[in-house]
Symmetry: C2
Subunit: 135 residues, 2 copies
Amino acid sequence: MPEGNQATATTPAEFSEVFHSDCPARGVLDHITSRWGIWVLLALNEGDKRFFELRDSIEGVSEKMLSQTLRDLAGDGLVWREVEPTVPPKVTYGLNEVGRGVSVRLVDMFRWIGANAENLCAEQAERTGSGPATR
Amino acid sequence: MPEGNQATATTPAEFSEVFHSDCPARGVLDHITSRWGIWVLLALNEGDKRFFELRDSIEGVSEKMLSQTLRDLAGDGLVWREVEPTVPPKVTYGLNEVGRGVSVRLVDMFRWIGANAENLCAEQAERTGSGPATR
DNA sequence: CAGTATCCTGGGGGATACTG
DNA sequence: CAGTATCCCCCAGGATACTG
């Protein structure tokens, strides 16, 4: 959709520049924020893992989506993949430099949310005066 | 070859604990990583904004989804909403304490990705040349 | 073990129209 | 201006089966 894009003067548009459509980083973001990207990054932050180890440590992920997410992340250069052509095959995944940086920051954010969960609950409780809208 | 990075044998499962199904923080995460949550948080990190200001600064968002995202984030206690019952009405949104913390960390992560975009491009280029190029 | 290939469904989310 | 309401399409992603 062709958008007006008013450029509200105040907006530095810092991120529009950095993450513009043609920039590969834009796609990277999409992969990170995809349904399973975060959890893969989080799991790998604990250490290198094999495919089924990942599947087991990420609750609810299907093999298809895990495979797809891994492929995306590896294509982005956030994750490496090593294949040992043995029988049975052994495939290991781990974080690259950039992926580690992302993962660490993700962990930091998660910790912040976890540490403030009570505050969130409190705020949600206050709101229940008018309408729960618990969705 | 991936360097050692032993799987520290820890696997603290720290996050499974913190973000278990019944924990409200789990839903918060879903909202943050939703299609537009990140961009709203990012936009509000620049300062408080009114509805249409937000719509204009977030490229591609529909009014429906913006409204929905805002409602979710406000319900989570990440964002506040202030209504001035004038004619025409004036509604302003901004970040709460927790929301600001999340937003700041998000910005940090985005900067990291942006700063390493060339590395990502390089890795992607190497891959196309059929090189293993691990890290 | 570590994946692909195929089929299929739900709801995320866009377009449009209407309201206070 | 700041939203709701409605319709409807598309594809992310789950289930299942097969392969090297």
